[in-house]
């Protein structure tokens, strides 16, 4: 039931349609950032990779959340430095995030909490393999070179260390949750 509830705006939606671009001014940082990506080529590469590795067994079923939205959410997550939950929530309320995700018209019932569930975003991320990731970066670089913005003539190579984050719940987190619970 929850799945039907959160996906229903992809099916029909209610109320008047708002033009998302009207609410996001041209100099808005997220709008400018989103306009740099060659979305059509990126989405085509993802779709081709997914169709090859995860073929659809049956034509039945509900239409999925567009690849364009999921890919933009994943990139936005790293641009604004937020969690899956937060970025999915912002897609529901933030017009700039909607613009970056390629949604040009806004129409959804007020009772709906999410456009995209964080679990869906996590599942999408899990399907990205190394070859696809390299291809996406190459597509972005090729688009920038074709536009004459960058040149690969002289390059710099370096490495940097990064720590593997711990997934374990720390004492501080447990204490924080315990303190927060009675107040709710």
């Amino acid at each position: 039931m929850r799945l039907v509830h959160y996906l229903q705006h992809w099916l029909r939606g209610t109320g008047t349609r708002l033009q998302v671009a009207d609410f996001v001014p041209d100099p808005h940082p997220l709008r400018q950032w989103a306009d740099t990506f060659p979305w059509a080529a990126l989405v085509a590469a993802v779709e081709h990779s997914f169709d090859t590795r995860f073929p659809t067994r049956s034509p039945r079923g509900r239409a999925p959340v567009p690849i364009r939205v999921l890919l933009a959410l994943e990139l936005l997550k790293h641009e604004v430095g937020t969690s899956d939950e937060d970025i999915c929530h912002r897609l529901r309320t933030d017009f700039a995030v909607m613009y970056a995700c390629g949604l040009r018209e806004y129409q959804a019932p007020r009772s709906q909490v999410h456009f995209v569930l964080p679990e869906t975003l996590c599942e999408f991320r899990g399907r990205i393999d190394e070859a696809l990731m390299d291809e996406l970066i190459a597509i972005q670089a090729a688009a920038a070179m074709e536009e004459g913005l960058v040149s690969p003539a002289h390059l710099v190579i370096d490495t940097f260390p990064c720590a593997q984050g711990s997934q374990r719940v720390t004492d501080a987190t447990t204490l924080y949750k315990a303190q927060k619970k009675p107040s709710n």
Binding site: W33, H78, I128, A144, E146, G148, H154, V156, P161, Q164
Partner: protein, 313 residues
């Protein structure tokens, strides 16, 4: 008791006898795991209530756990016997692809994690490719795979004449004779890779340029102008730290997704987000004077296609 590190940085003390004693106890405790594992594997094969896919998934996870245990046991046995550990030692029981990062940490305790590599344009910071290898290989091993990725990106461009990589700059970590030779064979100048800790010459004389071209065997393939630019890139190589800082500000300093694939996904998405922000800066001409000059020399001038030349009218 042994001490590690330089005194001024705070020495780390390790109680060797205590470590060996504890390790011995753990080894004795884990002695029956191999026998129990074989029994569990037989029982899993006989479990008819499970579906084939579930049995296969459980068997895969079980085999992975047993192989990890074997590896850890081997390392612990060496520790109790006082033998020197191999280079790729286990630092995380759940992820054997992680390794100690010793780069730039000769005076401090080693960090544990991953060591992504990147190849970027020095003027603007646009990252053409990145690589997150398993373990902790030497820096020189990053160069050719990264350049292959750049080449694949170049092949996607439909512009003529075809773009080429003229030079590569780096730090002393990628100073390797075999690598230099491989780069020269690809007609790539290596003047930006230092051979000593001495500062590089940013403006070489005509004689020096001729020597550089002769040494690389690229006399007819690369021009003196390209050598000058390569020297300038090598001289200003430390700007790559600002590109890395930009990635770190986007959370690349800590991998939050699980395993090597998770690290690859996180670093890749961070690089793409960084590139988007870099392209915004380039379009808005928010660059340093040095970067603007470098772009002019490369012929990457801003085309004012949306601006009227004579706004007074």
């Amino acid at each position: 008791m042994r001490c590690f590190g330089r005194q001024c940085r705070g020495q780390g003390h390790v109680f060797v006898k205590l470590v060996r004693h504890t390790e011995q106890q753990l080894l004795e405790l884990g002695q029956p795991i191999t026998a129990l594992g074989q029994q569990a594997q037989q029982l899993l094969g006989q479990a008819t209530a499970l579906s084939d896919s579930t049995r296969e998934r459980l068997a895969d996870a079980f085999n992975a756990a047993m192989s990890s245990h074997t590896h850890i046991r081997k390392q612990s046995t060496q520790l109790t016997q006082g033998k020197k550990l191999s280079h790729c030692k286990i630092v995380n029981a759940y992820d054997p692809t992680m390794a100690p990062i010793l780069k730039g940490k000769s005076n401090c305790p080693a960090q544990f994690g991953r060591k992504p590599g990147l190849v970027s344009e020095p003027a603007t910071g646009f990252i053409f490719a990145n690589r997150v290898p398993e373990g902790n290989p030497c820096d020189a091993s990053y160069v050719l795979p990264l350049l292959d990725k750049v080449q694949r990106a170049i092949e996607r461009v439909r512009a003529t004449p075809r773009l080429q990589v003229h030079s590569v700059a780096g730090d002393l970590g990628i100073n390797d004779a075999a690598l230099r030779q491989a780069l020269h064979q690809r007609a790539i100048l290596t003047v930006g890779i230092p051979k000593t800790i001495e500062p590089m010459q940013p403006h070489p004389s005509p004689e020096e340029v001729r020597d550089i071209l002769n040494e690389a065997g690229l006399h007819r393939k690369r021009t003196p102008h390209q050598v000058h630019l390569a020297c300038a890139c090598g001289y200003s190589r430390p700007v790559v730290e600002s590109h890395i800082a930009s990635l770190l500000s986007r959370g690349a300093g800590q991998v939050r997704y699980k395993g090597p694939l998770g690290a690859m996904r996180q670093q890749g998405m961070t690089v793409m987000a960084h590139n988007g922000a870099t392209l915004v800066r380039i379009r808005q001409q928010h660059m340093s004077k040095r970067a603007q000059k470098f772009r002019r020399l490369l012929g990457l001038r801003r085309r004012k296609i949306h601006e009227i030349n004579n706004p007074k009218n």
